[in-house]
Amino acid sequence: MTQITEQTITYRQAVREAMSEALIKDDRVFLMGEDVGRYGGCFNVSEGLLEEFGEERIIDTPLSESGFTGCGIGAAVVGMRPIIEIMTVNFSLLAADQIINTAAILQYMSGGQFNVPVVIRMATGGGKQLGAQHSRSLEGWYAHIPGLKILTPATIDDARGMLWPALEDPDPVLIFENTTLYNSEGILTGNEGEVDIQKAKVRREGNDVSILTYGIGLQKSLKAAEELSKEGIEAEVVDLRVLRPLDNETIFSSVSKTGRAVIVDEGWKSGGISAEISARITEELLYYLDNPVERICGMDVPAPYARHLEQASLPQPETIVKTIKKMGGLHG
């Protein structure tokens, strides 16, 4: 793990502190998943929590994604506030029945009688040469399912601050943590206390083009924005933060201001959340658009192991810069 100075903290620590805080604040909260205890979490996120909170609160499970995810759902329905950790979104396919056939619809099916206040955390994303079975970004795919709420913390503040409101939310919330972010460092602004899990956030202001992104795409987009700035193009970078329900208001206000939209999403392009955002923008703002909405997404391929291939399949700051510079009517 990386060295931490007084004021800075890693994304990993932020998630751990968020869980620790929740476990202290509310004794209905417990953490359940594979290797969350003894092992310290497969990405070392829950290190020390077992020692601190004991086996009643930090529960190591056998390899039974459907079983323990459903267990968390059931416990939530009768008053607990479980944090279920599925190691990565790829394994959540084994729990898809419990997430989609139960958590997402129980309240609707029961006429409002049984809500499901469960939080399911999963690691997501590629770029680490883990191959086709371990590198997917399926958060946008889950965002197709009514009844689920989808959060994608991209900053230290959000990693630290999104968990508690998610636990207080009466509905099932899926939190996607991009594996590449765990080691990223930052300074807690102290605003994490008032983190809002309804709205997107403008991370950088600009008038020329709106870059709409989330998760790992944020860092890449900010990097691209700095590059563009040198050439006199000021990009506004919007961190979507919530993939379901999408915050139309923030998206539309940015795009109607800039007249240009680029969506950056590491998930696969075809049928991804990028398409939904693009469609909503053109439905709402067609006559404001100076250019077609651009999508810079993960290539429609399973993740190859070889580094040069995998990197080529993912959005890069250079691609973002090139794409935006090619857009018509941009000075600089």
Binding site: G70, G74, G111
Partner: protein, 339 residues
Amino acid sequence: MATKKKNATTKKKPLANKSKNLHLLKQMMRIRRLEEKAYELYTQEKIRGFLHLYDGEEAVAVGVIENINEEDAIIATYREHGHALVRGVSMDRIMAELYGKVEGCSGGRGGSMHLYDKVTNFMGGSAIVGNGLPMAIGVGFAYKRQKSDAIACCFFGEGAVDEGEFHESLNLASLWDLPVLFVCENNLYSMGMPFELAEAETNLVKKAEAYNVKGSTVDGMDVLGVQETSEKAIHYIRKKQKPYFLECQTYRYRAHSMFDPERYRSKQEVKEWKKKDPITTFTDYLKHEGMLDDDELDQLNNQVMQEVEASVQFAEEGTDEPLEDITKYVYSDSSGGEL
């Protein structure tokens, strides 16, 4: 064989609690008449969607749920009218649900396969085979953490035993000593699939033991046998804080659902099983034991028929949910529309 033993024991307690026995009989009759009426209403297209009836299996729900406490939870399947009814959901609200009315126990949102009732901890009504078991262990897990002595009672068909979720749930329940009663309603068919063609090992108690879960098999056509065995099982669960697996051997009289050519079994087989009908055999037993005479039986019948007719009346007079509420309950805050 379990069946004999049970009958024996039931015989052994002659004038045992007449009122309890009449209660059990009435509960079974309520289910039977409700299902018969539902069938009739389906042919009249008052009830739509899938409709899975429980005729023939009444002794299972009645016998088990008789022992369930108020604070316990029940998780059932799409064949759950009877379970909801004997749990205490009124026939009115069940019938209204089959009609899709706001007055239904799921507000008309669920229909036959998705009966829910918060007041009686009746948690459905899941129509995905095996899907209820993880939910049940979660409920048991919560009760244990909450230091309550409540249990989760999970009903499922023998077809669910083949699903991975059965495997994962039994291992977790046993590993964590969860207070869960797993009630397998073995009616010998999962849709058209005969039990013995679906299971490489048909001894289900042996399967439960492979998770170190205690279990037993009971004649599911014998309401007293089911009641007594499940009483012991539930006592064990509460005392030991461990799960228990109960196989109830029973039979579904009707088609799997309303669209079922029934190519997979013979009329003769159905006839044979009807000889063991839980209601008629128990009625005869009570008469033979002098706990029931024809007048009392007529009385029961009339009460039940009245309840059924009243429920139809109630459902017929039910209201449709206004269209503008359609996105309500997708999320608690009822945000909705473009979600």
